[in-house]
Symmetry: none
Subunit: 201 residues, 4 copies
DNA sequence: AATGAATGAGGCTTCATTCAT
DNA sequence: AATGAATGAAGCCTCATTCAT
């Protein structure tokens, strides 16, 4: 058991917690939450079960943490783009592009997100849905802003445009491969183009 | 109870088989494949485990049948639209619209499709992927046809357009509700419009 | 799962169920409920864990069944004596004697009864308390009848006399040994004598 | 008391030790020894596990201390009454009364005593049994003294009378409630009366 | 005197599947 | 065609205890 001997408490603790989260993410994305055993996770992280239960309440807790991390990250990024300067079309394009790139960079998170959501306990489930909803609303507001400004067609519900687009984004985990012909940047640009184009009046 | 030997066999057998498939579909969509026990399925279908193992080799077999049914149905429908007469834009629009309507009418199938695919045994998994791929190719060919004809923009890979669109379609299970404000037909039209619009040169 | 099948089915089923209950009783009495593992029980009964969970919902269920059996048996016997003919002093003496003999004949049940009651789930716990209470009340009524008739002293609450006496009875499991100097009948007679004597006006 | 070297050491140490014992007693009485975790005890005492293992060798050690305390206390009190002046009937009555009052005042100790005795390691178990036996013998000697003097009936084994009476006493934890209709003093008087009356020749 | 991360063994339970009937 | 008892493997989790600090 290779140990860090640095002294600072955080350096001893964080690695184990982080390693557990990282391995859990990788495994959940690969086999699914239900098909991944706690034993597999701790073995991958090089610790014992007891250690895992020292840092997390349960296997579910691990999943909750993953969701929390993803939601936080995505919301932060979206806010940054939505609050930027410039015409709404540009801001939407940039945000759309960024969410694709971020998704592609964290493909495991994305695979887990919709596949395992129903494994969350009712309470956690609601909380994730609510946070996710706020995220969608933020994005939808950009669409509506463009519709009000007349730069986007308004004969289609903004809400649905968001669902339409995010379906595409979440589906990336199903077909995108980092070593395929397209880079994340390229897919991001294409997706953003398709979105903006579909909104042309 | 007198026993039939041939012909009517189906009448005795199918109901149980069908009930099992129907309940399995409902339950898999609700809780996920792994979280649904064989016991729950047979209880919902009103039979015993022995009966289930008479009709199906395993729990996996049940899942395979569900995939087979979905794939068959969707391919049939797509073919019908693709082979129709008329300009490619119209055929694509109709096909896109139809897949949305069909998906919305069989939302449980859709929920299962991507969530549980990784639970299939490697062999079955490959087979489903291959069939799915043929389906995508058929759809992609319509896009490419339009690009060749110059009615669709060709600065975006047709393959990716298909993934873009089907992401949206598969995501329907996440947000669409039959008793929500939009009918399946409406969503179908909007989605098809968005797709065609996004392809405008 | 509380099973109970009659007919020839029972011949196949009962033995396993019975064996499990018998071994569980023996082990719970010996080491206590919490210190007895399901593994030990099934090993003693010569079956696998799966078999146990086929007949019982849980380890708790096993305990509940033991309580149910004891309560049923004791109530039946008490009723028989209470409803007999004759002076109340005689009926009480006979009932007191019988409960001692029965307790001594089922010493394991008795050891379990008070030691493990708090392991029952709240619901089962209440139910056992309630049934136990009815038993006590039946016994108490005999004491009160004697007090009304003037054959028992009435300067002591009948309720407490019952608690006083049953304390002695339940304590038998702590000191009585079948191969000790006293037979169950002898202890029964002595206890009944002490009770009746203590009630002399 | 072999501990305590410096004096003020004790002021720091004893409170924690006492708190741990007190909370352990409360919890063991409530849920039973096996169902109480070390974590619960230290949490209730407001310290960490390390602290507990500083003062006690193990969870078992905690239990041993509780038994030791109870045994010491009861033996002391019994001796005081047995060695008093006066007729044996009076001394027995006083001792019987006192043990009831003391039991009622330390109901948690009493609940633990018989419920958890089998959790002690063999060695500790034997030691407790032996001490308990000495206690019983002391009490029994009073009964035999009265029988020799002819003030108690002698057609019942003195040993059994003791078991009879202490069964009632130990059972107090099952039904007595401090805020019920009877005070400990009242129950003590009644119990002593019943005992003495049952011994009338 | 006290912390708290980590261990390792063991606990209860679930479940897909088989098999004799 | 169907039953349901029984299996055996695996799953999640708890817990008393240790150890470096």
């Amino acid at each position: 058991m290779a140990r860090r001997v640095t002294g600072d408490r955080a350096h001893l603790e964080e690695p184990v917690r982080q390693r557990l989260l990282a391995e859990a993410t990788r495994l959940f994305a690969g086999r699914g939450f239900e098909s991944t055993s706690v034993q597999e996770i701790v073995a991958a992280a090089g610790v014992t079960k007891g250690a895992m239960y020292h840092y997390f309440d349960s296997k579910d807790d691990l999943l909750r943490e993953i969701y929390a991390r993803v939601l936080r990250l995505q919301m932060e990024r979206l806010n940054r783009f939505a609050e930027a300067e410039g015409p709404v079309a540009e801001r939407l394009h940039a945000a759309a592009r960024d969410v694709v790139v971020t998704t592609v960079d964290n493909l495991d998170d994305s695979k887990i997100f919709f596949r395992s959501m129903h494994q969350l306990a009712p309470e956690a489930y609601k909380s994730v849905r609510a946070e996710r909803r706020r995220y969608h609303e933020r994005f939808r507001d950009l669409v509506m802003e463009g519709q009000r400004d007349g730069v986007f067609r308004d004969d289609v519900p903004a809400e649905m445009v968001v669902d339409f687009f995010f379906g595409s984004v979440h589906h990336l985990g199903t077909w995108y491969h980092p070593d395929g012909p397209l880079s994340g940047q390229e897919v991001g640009r294409h997706f953003a183009d398709l979105l903006l184009n579909s909104l042309r009046p």
